[in-house]
């Protein structure tokens, strides 16, 4: 029961929040926080007394047997982590958009629905339901960018929609084909995983799935939508986009290819890693050349997620563990960076690095929090990002030294763009915009502290995180015939 609550609670919570302003000022904000907190509690409750087998919780119920669709939700360590992140980010979004007043009821409802759709993706194991939630996820994000964005938000929202919708087609085609050709029409992932397709068929199906995941991940050359989406999205939008939607791509890659198409994945893995490697370097170099702060962080996300792609395609215990940790670490660090840049833009009205600077003098709290996430951005040991990248590099050393070398290059280039970012914002003499700059308000500071704690704690004591991901990693590696390291 706990699992379906994960999806229904935010969904109906969103509906309730729509009508919340009638009861009083800011009730929609408190309502959303309550909904998210409740979802988190339910998650923790169901994760704690989950059984010790492969799945913490498994829910199976018929929805439309004549068409072979069923409600099949399963949760293990990995999806539990993802669900926790989605709820936490939900709360963070509410905190930082405390001053959003333009249609704020709808705004908070959309946040709830994004979380609901993402939770659906993290839980669904019936392929059709998974594809359904995958497509559903685009709509609230589209609304978030389209209605509450800055500048030319329509262009960015449309680009986001076209990219993801077209990619979704690949996933839908593969799912429908698998469902139709199964002996008796079913979309159950576990049944289909024993379907025993021949390798070429597996490769084609895998490409269908991979197309959807890679666009959402995003990995070059499918990444063109991310910078625009981030620059035009409101702060909460960027956080949900970076913290949540990117993770669904990574989660998808982590979960389904090894489960459904092991041989296909083995065949495609080298190309996947090559693409990931290219993405890492390309993202990093592009990040150095950016003028707009949010666009810079968007390109860093591309670099980090390409590392996740390399990790997932590595097919080795370390690589997958690294990919899992990097996913979670990136969720924390990039959301915090977007939050800070959002706060910055809210006060100075600009994100252009050439017009910012000197915040150390005027806003020390902002500067110190920026320093923490500057360290996370360049994967300083002691932050979870370093752990993720180090594990992926160890995995790559076991697989192919060239990819390991390229991943190491990313460590170096990350310093270049990180120092450029902090140099332009925190160092230097205060310019006209940043002269008067009141420091972070409590409702902005608390999320920062939460995210910072998350990065540092998981960086110093990764045992909790790795323990959570272990069952998912072992299961992902089993079909690939890769025993434990």
């Amino acid at each position: 029961m706990g699992l379906s609550l994960q999806i229904l609670l935010p969904f109906f919570g969103g509906l309730a929040v729509l009508f919340a302003p009638r009861f009083g000022r800011d009730y929609e904000r408190y309502g959303t926080i309550a909904v998210m907190a409740l979802t988190l509690l339910v998650l923790i409750f169901s994760a704690l007394n989950g059984d010790s087998g492969r799945w913490l919780q498994l829910v199976q119920a018929d929805w439309a047997p004549s068409f072979g669709i069923q409600v099949l939700l399963a949760m293990d360590g990995l999806s539990a982590a993802m669900l926790a992140i989605s709820s936490i980010l939900g709360i963070v979004c509410v905190f930082i958009s405390w001053e959003v007043t333009h249609r704020s009821a709808m705004y908070h409802a959309v946040i709830c629905w994004t979380v609901a759709a993402a939770n659906g993706v993290f839980l669904a194991f019936d392929l059709l339901v998974f594809a359904f939630f995958w497509e559903l996820m685009i709509i609230p994000a589209f609304l978030l960018i389209g209605l509450w964005g800055h500048g030319n938000r329509e262009h960015a929202a449309m680009k986001f929609l076209v990219f993801n919708a077209v990619a979704g087609l690949g996933l839908l085609a593969a799912v429908f084909w698998m469902g139709a050709t199964a002996p008796e029409i079913t979309f159950d992932a576990f049944v289909l995983s024993e379907a025993g397709y021949s390798t070429p068929v597996q490769v084609i199906l895998l490409l269908g799935f991979a197309l959807a995941f890679m666009v959402k991940l995003p990995v070059p050359p499918f990444h063109a939508w991310l910078p625009d989406a981030h620059t035009q999205a409101p702060t909460a939008g960027s956080i949900l986009l970076a913290g949540l939607l990117l993770k669904t791509g990574a989660y998808g890659l982590f979960r389904f290819p090894p489960l459904l198409f092991p041989e296909g994945l083995m065949a495609v893995a080298p190309y996947g890693m090559a693409l990931g490697a290219f993405g890492v370097v390309y993202g990093a170099i592009l990040a150095c050349g950016q003028v707009d702060a949010k666009r810079l962080i968007a390109y860093t996300s591309i670099a980090h997620m390409s590392i996740v792609l390399m990790g997932v395609c590595g097919g080795v215990h370390f690589a997958l563990a690294g990919a899992g940790v990097e996913m979670i670490a990136h969720a924390f660090s990039s959301s915090a960076l977007f939050l800070l840049i959002g706060a910055l833009q809210h006060r100075t009205g600009t994100r252009d690095l050439r017009e910012l600077g000197g915040l150390q003098k005027t806003a020390p709290a902002f500067a110190t929090s920026f320093a923490v996430f500057f360290a996370a951005a360049l994967a300083m040991p002691g932050t979870a990002n370093f752990l993720g990248e180090a594990l992926v590099i160890t995995g790559m050393f076991q697989v192919n030294w060239a990819f390991a070398a390229i991943a190491l290059v990313s460590l170096v280039v990350s310093v270049v763009y990180a120092t450029r970012l902090i140099g332009a914002i925190v160092f230097g003499k205060p310019k006209s915009e940043t002269a008067v700059f009141e420091d972070l308000k409590p409702y902005e500071l608390w999320p920062i502290i939460a995210l910072g704690a998350g990065t540092i704690v998981f960086g110093l004591f990764p045992q909790v995180l790795i323990g959570w991901l272990r069952p998912a990693i072992d299961a992902a590696l089993l079909p690939l015939g890769v025993g434990a390291p």
Binding site: W63, A64, P65, S66
Partner: protein
């Protein structure tokens, strides 16, 4: 008369009782109370019918069959009758309105379970003549003209049906439908005449001429009866004939020709209609065409498809007419602008009904469309499949034209008219039925599968 057979004839008796009650009370009681008096026995009949769906067959006589088809058909007819009762207002159907609707419902039940020539003929007449009477009630020139057209064409149709029965009786020596022999010219001609008789009531081309004028001119309940009760009953009668006769060529060919023409002509004509009722009339012809195509194609899914299609069409047409009745007979496209905002329940009811008739996902029409296309594709009947596809495409055009209009912003804030309770209940019930069955079609599909041999 075992108690099983008593239960089997109980619905017909109850409906007759309802009619008599309504006629007796009509002069002395105000119409709303008469309506309730008629509604109670009908509701009881519906409950009995639904309860007995699984019960063993106990036909009371050779005249009336008591198989699953008959029960489901009768249940639908009686339920439709109940729905129509809710919007038979005194202003448009006089004091005798409820009585006539009850008679029509009884006729529908008889026709649905007709197993013998006589009950077939009687059922047909019992549904037609009350419609004519109802059409005349407002005594306006348009209504009388519509009534007259229906009267004459239906009369000729009845004559053709009788000729068919004569030839059938002549050829096979018995009026029982399942006893008809098919070989020999006399039987074939008989079947042709019967097909013509049914096609008139089913409003297939070229016997459909009365239908658009009746829908436009006559008050709303008449169109509702024509669209729901008579269509359901005739479809099931035709299904029974089709199932009992071993693959007669004239029957399938006739249905194919008439059905195909009905689909094309019905949709084309509806494309440019501005009057809501006339559009519903033509679209009703098109839907009869789809059912005729399915009957002509046959195959093991035929029974299920016809039942699902009819079960999904009846509530939609009743809801549409409930709203039309509220809005008056002359409602043009512009009058619907912003209906969803000015009269939310009516707007949503009409919107959902149109979506269901168009066959779009949230409503049960989508499931019916799936059955329709899977039957046609299953039997590799490429001709009817193409015709049905073109028909549905055109259908999208004119249904959505009206549906979108409902949800646009209202030009001037129209006054919020008060719905009487019965109307509201009928609309709410039909919306619920259409949406829940659309999202979770399991009960309908299992019910239909159980009721077929």
């Amino acid at each position: 008369m075992t108690d099983g057979s008593i239960w089997s004839v109980a619905p017909l008796v109850l409906l007759g009782l309802a009619a008599i009650l309504a006629m007796v009370l009509a002069p002395i009681q105000p119409t709303p109370r008469v309506r309730i008096a008629a509604a109670l026995p009908m509701a009881l009949a519906v409950i009995i019918l639904l309860a007995r769906l699984g019960a063993p067959e106990a036909p009371v006589s050779m005249l009336l069959a008591d198989d699953g088809m008959a029960r489901l058909g009768s249940a639908l007819a009686a339920a439709a009758g109940l729905g129509i009762l809710s919007f038979t207002r005194t202003i448009c159907t006089g004091r005798e309105g409820p009585a006539l609707v009850a008679i029509a419902a009884a006729g529908g039940v008889a026709l649905a379970s007709a197993n013998h020539g006589a009950t077939l003929f009687l059922g047909l007449e019992l549904t037609t003549l009350p419609m004519v009477a109802l059409a005349l009630m407002p005594r306006t020139e348009a209504a009388v003209e519509a009534g007259y057209k229906l009267f004459l064409i239906a009369g000729v149709g009845a004559g053709a049906l009788l000729m068919g029965l004569v030839f059938g009786f002549g050829a096979s020596g018995s009026l029982r439908l399942d006893a008809w022999s098919v070989d020999g010219p006399v039987a074939a001609i008989g079947l042709a005449f019967v097909l013509v008789g049914l096609s008139v009531k089913f409003a297939l081309v070229p016997f459909h001429m009365w239908s658009p004028d009746l829908f436009a001119g006559a008050p709303a309940p008449v169109g509702a009866i024509a669209g729901s009760i008579s269509k359901v009953a005739v479809a099931i009668a035709a299904l029974r004939i089709g199932l009992s006769l071993p693959a007669p060529e004239i029957w399938t060919l006739g249905l194919l020709l008439a059905g195909g023409a009905a689909v094309i002509l019905g949709n084309l004509a509806a494309l440019r209609q501005d009057n809501l009722l006339r559009m519903l009339g033509y679209s009703s012809i098109a839907h009869s065409g789809y059912i005729a195509l399915v009957l002509s194609v046959g195959g093991e899914l035929m029974g299920e498809t016809v039942l699902v299609y009819v079960a999904s069409y009846a509530p939609a047409i009743v809801a549409a007419f409930a709203v039309a009745g509220l809005m008056g007979t002359g409602t043009r496209l512009e009058d619907l602008r912003g209906l969803a905002w000015s009269r939310p329940l009516a707007g949503v009811a009409l919107g959902v009904a149109l979506l269901s008739m168009a066959g779009l996902p949230p409503a049960v029409g989508f499931v019916a469309k799936i059955y329709l296309f899977s039957t046609l594709a299953g039997e590799a009947a490429w001709g009817p499949l193409v015709i049905a596809a073109i028909g549905s495409a055109l259908g999208f055009a004119y249904y959505l034209r009206f549906a979108v209009r409902i949800f646009t912003a209202p030009r001037q804030p129209a006054p919020r008219a008060t719905l009487n309770r019965a109307d509201a209940v009928a609309m709410a019930a039909s919306i619920a039925l259409l949406i829940t069955l659309g999202l979770y079609p399991e009960p309908l599909t299992s019910l239909v599968a159980a009721s077929l041999p």
